[in-house]
Symmetry: C2
Subunit: 194 residues, 2 copies
């Protein structure tokens, strides 16, 4: 039987990842199995939000396989540098956290070399890593039942907006008398209207 | 002639947005025209990164229409609460910033009511707003040539990783002796292995 990531074959999922992420990155492929494992451990038919504990790769697996995206607010990326994700019931805050388990990775030479950065990017052969990822499936993962703390699950309301008197763009008034970019521009050296 | 968002008709783009974002949200539709305007003002054939100045809606337009995603590191979302995005040449840091121009929105009743939150979500009629968005196209936008400051364009390298002695997961060693989640867990009330 061929390996599946939710409703997709591993090959189909790999193609979807290439198109969106730009490459068949091991982190997004393993992320597919992580999302799959999380969903299988959640009750059917619930509305869930997602937390991603790393900004690398994993957010794209969540965006491709769940209704949660960066722009719709159902995915929160928290920069902990941990290769873990959580899907949780919006109404009960009960969820499932799935992580790539260092102990279980031990027996997979290529995945281990990638995950522990034993080989440099140049030395890694993507095809070999991804073959192992397909063979390993969910066996390199561990899962926990978790309850999300209310503060972490709470959505901030955007509050009142107004015109920044300096740049004349619309900004959240609780940022102060002028917008954050006018307060401290750490982004742009200069700008000229086109 | 029908209205286009890059290679898509407005209807096609609306369907793509619905599928990814979950709804034909005005912010993602306007975002389509913003990405379109930015790309048309960039030289052909360059590799570019994206900055999004709000976490609401707009990141999804960027992810759907450019190679830049949350997980591949080419999209940076900065929480300024400004409805603006920038695409910039990775090698020169020269780019184009596009924003929804409050002055130009004035003559569009429904877009104005949505953007300035004059009508509550309940009072808004999505079809009416989106009809105006299609009719307005890029005419409600303004664009600036910008140069990204080197610090804003710089990618952080992830550095060395190791096993957290407490939770036994892999984490970035420069976070300290144990991982950030073990240092201060603001996410989970408790977790039990499945």
């Amino acid at each position: 039987m061929s390996v599946h990531v939710l409703e997709y074959t591993f090959e189909e999922y790999t193609e979807i990842v290439k198109k969106f992420h730009g490459a068949a990155a091991p982190g997004v492929l393993i992320g597919g199995f992580m999302v799959d494992a999380a969903i299988r451990n959640l009750p059917d038919g619930i509305l869930y939000d997602a937390i991603c504990e790393t900004k690398s790769c994993l957010p794209d697996a969540i965006q491709l396989l769940t209704p949660c995206t960066t722009g719709n607010g159902w995915l929160t990326v928290i920069h902990l540098g941990l290769f873990a994700l959580t899907l949780y019931d919006k109404s009960t805050c009960q969820g499932v956290r799935v992580f790539l388990d260092p102990e279980k990775v031990e027996s997979w030479k290529e995945i281990k070399a990638w995950f522990f950065k034993i080989k440099s990017k140049k030395e890694q052969v993507l095809e070999l890593i991804n073959k192992e990822i397909e063979a390993a499936g969910t066996t390199i993962l561990s899962a926990q039942k978790v309850e999300i703390l209310p503060e972490a699950a709470q959505k901030k309301h955007k509050g009142k907006i107004g015109l920044c008197p300096k740049c004349r763009e619309v900004y959240p008034l609780d940022h102060g008398g002028i917008c954050l970019l006018c307060q401290s521009n750490t982004l742009y050296a200069h700008g000229t209207h086109i």
